[in-house]
């Protein structure tokens, strides 16, 4: 029997998107395990292909989004996540997970701060795929929609020019097509140099099905090559699908 790759989802107190994210990963073929942070050890990641930090409010995000999660993770497993990446592992951070990956310095320098609206924003946004060769985005079209739900999703860098640099270097893998939250260069998602660490504010796990879209008549803007049974997929599915294929082809 073919061995399915294993994904581990780290769960902090206040992480609350782990279930649907695990469901998304299972749908495309991963075996998943949710590990509460209290039980995390360096050896927890042995044999694991993907580590996912899902959305939520780790420790309430009262200090700064992702700050306490970073400190606890480092206290628990030190540099294990960096070693994991160096050894070919993949890391995905969604929303609060993106904030935590940024705090952990696993992504290009930047901070996710309060939206310019000073509000929580739950809405759908259009995204531009700027890294079609990314292991996370290969099956996604040039533009597509995902929902967002965050109060602190505005990506800022020390100097605005750094963010510009991210556009040029390809680190800014995903951008909003309009100004959503005040992010520099409208950046919605970042990847690291290896391409195996990816963080984004939008929630692909909330758009696995066509019916998850707000418009009942939405259909996938595919070029007609979608396989049978795929017509009811939402765009989020294809992010996880891309990831699964990258992980399996990398390990074979």
């Amino acid at each position: 029997m073919e061995e399915r790759p294993c994904a581990v989802l780290l769960k902090f107190p206040g992480t609350n998107c782990d279930e649907e994210t695990a469901r998304a990963l299972e749908t495309v073929g991963f075996v998943t395990e949710v590990i509460p942070i209290s039980a995390l050890k360096p050896e927890s990641l042995v044999g694991v292909s993907l580590v996912v930090l899902s959305g939520g409010f780790s420790y309430g995000d009262y200090v700064m989004a992702g700050r306490l999660a970073k400190l606890v993770t480092e206290q628990k497993i030190g540099d294990t996540l960096k070693e994991f990446r160096d050894n070919g592992g993949y890391l995905l951070g969604i929303c609060n997970g993106f904030q935590i990956l940024t705090q952990l310095d696993l992504l290009p320098a930047g901070s996710l701060v309060e939206n310019t609206s000073a509000r929580f924003q739950c809405q759908w946004v259009t995204l531009k795929n700027r890294a079609p060769e990314s292991p996370f985005l290969s099956h996604l079209p040039d533009t597509f929609e995902f929902p967002i739900a965050h109060a602190e999703g505005r990506l800022v860098t020390q100097e605005e020019s750094e963010a510009k640099g991210y556009l040029e270097s390809g680190a800014a893998a995903l951008t909003y097509t309009e100004d959503v939250n005040g992010s520099f260069e409208q950046i919605a998602g970042l990847q690291d140099e290896s391409g195996r660490v990816f963080g984004l504010m939008p929630h692909p796990e909330r758009f696995l099905h066509r019916q998850d879209h707000y418009d009942p008549d939405w259909s996938h803007p595919s070029d007609g090559d979608s396989a049978e049974g795929e017509e009811n997929r939402g765009s989020g599915y294809y992010l996880f699908r891309s990831l699964f294929e990258s992980v399996t082809s990398a390990s074979s």
Partner: protein, 817 residues
């Protein structure tokens, strides 16, 4: 947060004069010699919210037992007998007079809620799995899973501290779900608010220290947002009413739905089990919440009662929730309930009322030192759950508590004695026969109601387009988008029909629909609140609220034979006969509609004393009922939204339009507050809903929108807000009363009506289905323009650009929030 007691030299209080303190942490109170007046004074002083009659009954119980109560015992009885916990007005004997006719009602709850629902249970075996006795009522979803819904109010705390009040209001009802059965998983929340208008002049607030409605609204919304979002429970459904009568007493309803494996619904406590608590620590926050909410507010409440408002910590609750659901899945829970009003005293009281057992207050981890026994036992500190478990399950439970980083304490034991015993510092501070606790005296009350409506001439409609614009800008109708977007309504990834949807993603929907993990079926959630109707005709409000909630659920694709509802009442002063009369009439209205629709009540709650002593006398809220409901949607393809989908479809109206304008937003705008309110033809409506469901099953319906606030014209405009096409409508064949006014046709709010969008080729099929029922073709979607055009025969009543209408509607609240 805490308010220190005044430091004036202590005169001897009633409490001092009768108290003996065997130890620092509790007192014995000699009540046997007190007369009624003194007893009442004691109740007042201790903030027990017990009447003189109640206090006399307690005195008699203790005389029988031949001893004096401890302060802990009196507090426990006060919690148990409080209106908040015992619903004594709904159990009272009421002599009711309606338009001069007298009748006696023995318990509103039994007569109109419980008995009605049980008749429906008998008609639909297997549908309702649990009702009225648990934290929430369950209905069958499929062969393995059940869903539940519970709604609560948190009015008094939200008036005083809006953020914390609403925060803990939602936190509390989420715990209700976690404590339903052996622990249900919360999957969606609703919130309904009643506030004064956002543009209320400060001069119109006739009391000190009352917060402006805008301040209340902002605080309340943020409170709900910060709890719901952090818990990861989508807030998917809601409503806001604005009316001057809510300036002093805002209403904040919070509700949560849950899902559970059917095998985990039944729970029982047995002798030998351990009682444990998990979650937050216990402090002085939230003392006397239950009794506080059973009394009226005044300016002093704002100064004195801050202690009664709890402080929320959603992450603490999230950890407890993770623990509870994991423990349930591992089969480690025998019984569970939440710590809500009354804290451990009511949680343990409920758990041990039959079995009996001992609670050891020394086991409780405190937030602050020096708390005395009664404070610990009745503290309403948040985020605590109480469980009964087998002793052998303890090690596994401790492991889970460590895993999810929540604190677990062994609170006591269940022993089969039938006695609730509480120990502290080695002494018994409370020893009560639980069965005695639940026999509060039955209240005798009087009520009366006379109809307040009168025949009024409908106003002439000279410029219907202007009237429509003015309605779409009315606070009653404007888009709630600024608030909806602050709530994460998509977390858990199951919100199929969102509160805002349609092709543009921002058009209003009737109900919201959730996918349920592990099932092909879905759950729809709807609600209705129509206080304006109740001001003049509470009976009509009752029937119309059930109808609207039911209709929303059906419109969204729910099976009309698998709908259950909840009744949540708020009112002012129940000792005012007229106000109580309005309540009685409302209850009758919801009961008759529930029975006609076969939609049983599975849970409910009430909140009294929502009145305020202002400089100009007491101001009461109108009797306000929230009817919320859940319906089973058989399959995903049945889910139906409320927004225009195609540019070549046709439109039809289901239901009869009456000439009455009462209760409508239009009538309010025109100053016709006394206009007669439409009635609900329940039998015809139910038949129509069944036919509509057949049409859904046959795939005939593209979209459907209920006709509600603002009437038919607003309904059509809202459907067109998807931006897909214009509309060309003719009202000439609308089934209606003879001699209809334009006003009633366009803006009347007769219940039981739905506008549906169908493909042109399906219109005849649909018309055939509705043979013999009120039904008419209305017009068509017009792809060639983007106007809403409404004709009445040869006359064009309305011809307005939809984007202009939409921008009025969309920006109405945005400027205030």
């Amino acid at each position: 947060m805490t308010t220190e007691t005044e430091s004036t030299p202590p005169a001897e209080t009633i409490l001092d004069s009768i108290a003996e303190a065997p130890a620092d942490h509790y007192r014995v109170l000699k009540i046997s010699d007190l007369d009624g007046e003194k007893l009442y004074e004691l109740s007042q002083f201790m903030k027990l919210s017990l009447s003189q009659e109640d206090m006399l009954a307690i005195q008699e119980i203790y005389q029988e037992w031949d001893r004096e109560p401890t302060d802990v015992e009196l507090e426990v009885i006060a919690q148990t007998w409080s209106e908040h916990c015992k619903h004594r007005i709904f159990g009272a004997n009421i002599e009711h007079e309606i338009d001069g006719e007298k009748e006696t009602i023995q318990s509103l709850f039994k007569t109109y809620i419980y008995d009605v629902s049980h008749r429906i249970f008998d008609r639909k075996p297997g549908f309702v799995l649990s009702a009225f006795h648990d934290n929430a009522g369950f209905i069958t979803l499929d062969e393995n899973q059940a869903v539940c819904l519970k709604a609560e109010t948190h009015n008094h705390p939200s008036a005083i501290e809006p953020y914390a009040g609403a925060n803990t209001g939602l936190g509390g009802v989420i715990r209700d779900i976690l404590g339903a059965g052996k622990g249900a998983k919360p999957i969606g929340s609703l919130d309904v608010f009643c506030f004064g208008a956002p543009d209320t002049e400060m001069d119109n607030i006739k009391a000190d220290d009352v917060l402006h409605p805008l301040g209340i609204m902002r605080g309340v919304v943020r409170g709900v947002r910060d709890y719901g979002n952090r818990m990861g429970i989508p807030t998917i459904s809601g409503a806001i009413q604005f009316d001057d009568s809510y300036i002093y007493n805002p209403l904040v309803y919070c509700g949560t739905a849950g899902v559970i494996p059917i095998k985990d619904i039944d729970k029982e406590v047995g002798a030998g089990m351990k009682v444990i608590a998990v979650g937050g620590r216990t402090g002085r926050d939230g003392l006397h919440g239950a009794t506080f909410s059973s009394a009226a507010l005044d300016t002093e409440s704002h100064e004195e009662d801050q202690q009664a408002v709890q402080i929320g910590n959603p992450i603490e609750e999230k950890k407890a929730a993770d623990f509870v659901l994991a423990a349930r899945d591992e089969g480690l829970i025998e019984f569970i309930t939440d710590c809500g009003a009354g804290g451990y005293s009511s949680a343990a009281g409920e758990m041990l009322e039959e079995c009996g057992g001992t609670i050891d207050l020394d086991s409780v981890i405190l937030k602050e030192p020096g708390m005395v026994s009664w404070e610990i036992f009745i503290s309403e500190s948040q985020e605590r759950m109480v469980l009964a478990v087998k002793p052998e399950s303890l090690p596994a439970l401790r492991k889970l508590a460590d895993l999810y980083e929540t604190e677990l304490i062994e609170l006591g034991d269940a022993d089969g004695s039938g006695i609730l015993k509480v120990t502290h510092h080695g002494e018994t501070v409370c020893q009560l026969d639980c069965s005695k606790l639940h026999n509060a005296p039955i209240r005798e009350m009087k009520s009366q109601w006379t109809k307040k409506t009168e025949a009024v001439e409908p106003p002439l409609v000279e410029n219907a387009g202007e009237d429509l614009r003015s309605l779409l800008s009315d606070f009653a109708i404007v888009s709630r988008e600024p608030i909806i977007r602050e709530y994460d309504h998509e977390v858990q990834g199951n919100t199929v029909l969102k509160p805002l949807a349609g092709a543009s993603g921002d058009a209003p929907q009737d109900a919201t629909v959730l996918r349920i993990s592990g099932s092909d079926r879905l759950m729809s959630m709807g609600l209705s609140v129509l206080p304006e109707w109740g001001k003049t005709d509470p009976y009509a409000m009752g029937t119309a609220c059930v109808d609207e909630c039911f209709r929303q659920l059906v419109a969204s694709g729910a099976d009309p034979d698998r709908i259950a509802i909840l009744d949540n009442f708020c009112m002012g002063n129940p000792d005012d006969q007229e106000e109580l009369g309005a309540l009685v009439e409302t209850v009758k209205g919801i009961a008759v509609a529930a029975e006609a629709y076969g939609a049983p009540f599975v849970s409910g709650k009430d909140s009294f004393y929502n009145y305020f002593e202002t400089e100009e006398g007491p101001v009461s809220i109108p009797v306000t009922i929230l009817v919320s409901g859940m319906g089973i949607v058989e399959e995903a393809s049945h889910v139906t939204g409320s927004s225009l989908r195609h540019d070549d479809s046709v439109f039809a109206l289901i239901g009869h339009t009456q000439g009455h304008l009462g209760g409508s937003v239009f009538a309010r705008q025109k100053g016709l507050e006394k206009a007669e309110v439409p009635s609900t033809d329940l039998e015809t409506a139910m038949e129509s809903y069944r036919k509509y469901y057949e049409a859904i099953q046959q795939g005939l319906i593209l979209s459907a929108h209920d006709v509600s606030e603002g009437g038919l014209a607003v309904t059509l405009a809202e459907m067109a807000f998807s931006g897909k096409a214009g509309l060309e409508i003719d009202l000439c064949s609308v089934p209606a009363d003879d001699e209809m006014s334009k006003a009633a046709l366009l803006f009347g709010e007769s219940p039981s009506r739905l506008v549906v969008e169908v493909a042109p080729e399906n219109l005849e099929k649909l018309a055939d289905l509705f043979e013999g029922l009120p039904f008419a073709a209305l017009g068509r979607a017009a792809g060639e323009h983007r106007n809403l055009r409404i004709d009445w025969g040869k006359e064009t009543l309305i011809n307005e650009p939809i984007d202009e209408l939409k921008s009025l509607w969309k920006n109405g609240l945005a400027q205030y929030y």
